[in-house]
């Protein structure tokens, strides 16, 4: 019975989400928030395949997001249809993942994490300076379009469509589709031979290797799959906002966000990254617009939002490493115990009285 109630609850939630753009409640605000949430759920889920299932913490997923966004922008500016660039964005991110994943994934634990930070920053700097690097090269000059490839620090501007409302309307459902697709992939991975191998790698690399798991191959495959999904996410973002620059899409905060969301929600689980992303987006949204006023003294919280995430992360790692899902499990267990005790009091077991 409980199970069916849960199903109904999920169904109601889904219908509500589908209905938001039609309703116009919140004057489009909810629609934007929804779009961002779906996008970030997809990113979080993608990161979780490598970071959660395989246990390889990557602080460099921002590179895939950025590459996806840039691939799309660069191609669209050369006249390609935006939607046709989606798979290409994923592929570019995926190939780039193989390029640095192959050497970096030989490193273990925190050394891999440190290497990914380096890769992320290096990529951001490369994208900032790419135009300067190729503008004098006789061969590469051909790829420039009106003198720019990546636009350096100014970034790239995409043409804005005429009917912006129906455009955003479509992207709401597009992002939702991406979210469900990524969840499906994550679920498939979790329940497959591939997922079992990743989990084995996560638990003990040497033992996995002894039992025949091709650990290097599997880790690379997980990274590429993860990168592909993040790349598509970046592509959708670029199409939605029409403007990208290296600081936004390649920035370290983006990489950190992808680590934070699954950690908040419950690392290595299917639904953890979802709840983590929801909390992340909602908290971010609330904080960025909130102001504290104490008489004459005003404090804008927007500058503090990373601080709050940092504090949240410390609390989670210290007290509930399994995140929201772990907390939920613990509370549910406590609740069930209390309920049992209460019912025991009301109806003493037969024979005792």
């Amino acid at each position: 019975m409980l199970r069916s109630r849960k199903t109904w609850l999920y169904l109601a939630g889904l219908i509500f989400l589908l209905w938001i753009p039609f309703s116009g409640i919140g004057g489009g605000y909810l629609q934007t928030l929804g779009f961002l949430t779906f996008l970030y759920v997809a990113l979080s889920t993608a990161w979780n395949i490598l970071g959660g299932y395989a246990g390889q913490t990557s602080f460099g997923h921002g590179t895939f997001y950025g590459l996806g966004a840039y691939t799309t922008s660069v191609l669209v500016l050369r006249g390609m249809h935006p939607l046709a660039t989606l798979p290409l964005a994923g592929l570019v991110a995926s190939c780039y993942a193989l390029l640095w994943g192959y050497p970096c994934l030989r490193l273990r634990g925190q050394y891999f994490a440190i290497a990914t930070i380096g890769v992320g920053e290096a990529t951001r700097l490369l994208m900032l300076n790419l135009d300067d690097l190729i503008k004098d090269n006789a061969w590469l000059k051909g790829v420039l379009h009106e003198g720019v490839l990546t636009g350096g620090a100014t970034g790239l501007m995409l043409p804005t469509p005429g009917d912006i409302h129906s455009y955003a309307f479509g992207f709401y459902y597009g992002a939702m589709g991406l979210m469900f697709a990524s969840l499906l992939v994550s679920w498939k991975v979790k329940n497959s031979k591939f997922g079992l191998g990743l989990l084995a790698i996560n638990m003990d690399l040497d033992a996995a290797e002894t039992l025949g798991v091709k650990t290097a191959y599997y880790k690379n495959l997980a990274l590429m799959l993860s990168a592909f999904m993040v790349g598509i996410g970046g592509s959708i973002y670029a199409q939605y906002v029409f403007y990208i620059d290296p600081q936004t899409v390649f920035g370290f905060p983006m990489s950190i966000a992808m680590v934070l969301m699954p950690t908040i929600g419950g690392i290595g689980t299917l639904m953890g990254p979802v709840w983590g992303a929801v909390v992340y987006i909602v908290v971010q949204d609330q904080i960025l617009t909130a102001n504290l006023e104490f008489g004459d003294f005003k404090l804008s919280l927007s500058s503090l939002h990373l601080l709050i995430y940092g504090g949240l992360l410390v609390l989670i790692v210290l007290f509930e490493p399994k995140g929201i899902l772990g907390l939920h499990k613990r509370l549910a267990a406590a609740w069930a115990k209390r309920k049992k005790e209460n019912s025991g009091k009301d109806h003493p077991p037969a024979g005792s009285g």
Partner: protein
Amino acid sequence: MGQEEEGKFREGSSPCRVRVRFHMAAIIEGNNVYKSFGGLMAVNDVSFQVHPGEIMGLIGPNGAGKTTLFRCLTGGYRVSGGRFFFRGRDITNLSPHAICVRGITNTHQVVKPFSDMTVLDNVRVGAFFGRGWVKGEVKDATQEARRVLEFTGLLPKENFLARNLTLPDRKRLEVARALATRPEVLLLDEVVAGLNPTETDRMIHLIRKMRESGITILMVEHVMRAVLGVSDRVMVLSFGEKIAEGTPQEVCANPGVIEAYLGKGLGGR
């Protein structure tokens, strides 16, 4: 078959090391294996043969290089010199997973269970990725895993998390996982160490049962009762060198072995 000829060829190519060979083809052969860590010769010119279906013990004082030799054989370390052959095929310096799917696997001296997986899932990893799956002998990993768990006596605990197992059960799990890969040769690294006498007997029983099912076993062991009681042949390492080989009785009577374990007697002067 080819492996006979190959064997002859190798002998011919190094005429200074011709030695009498057993008629029975060796399933595993190590030829003049070296392994050094910096200046330390952990394994020094060790040659040995393991025959199909036998239990071979590998003993020696602490730091003799037993585990190092194991790790060289299963791909954990790269050898500094020498070759390993499995059924006449060169397997030197292959990576552990490649060695596993060829039919050789090992257990770890320090048990390495996948702590947050259930016992069943632990064993499923072996069934999924081992030789049985690759060769198509295993069709359903879960079914195979249950079969192995029954064989090793862990079936009642299939839904336990590996982290909650006791040490004897973890050692059993280590063996079960390795078995699920359908090995031809199983390398046991101190599976009896740390067990009480009853548990030791159960483990020895399990080792015999595995041999009866056709698996060749090479075991490193410190517990003499276990290794001498169960082995067909024993090889002794000391400071990286092979100092004796033979039946348990022969080895026990060997003065060199006694010296390595107990030191030189005063009366020997």
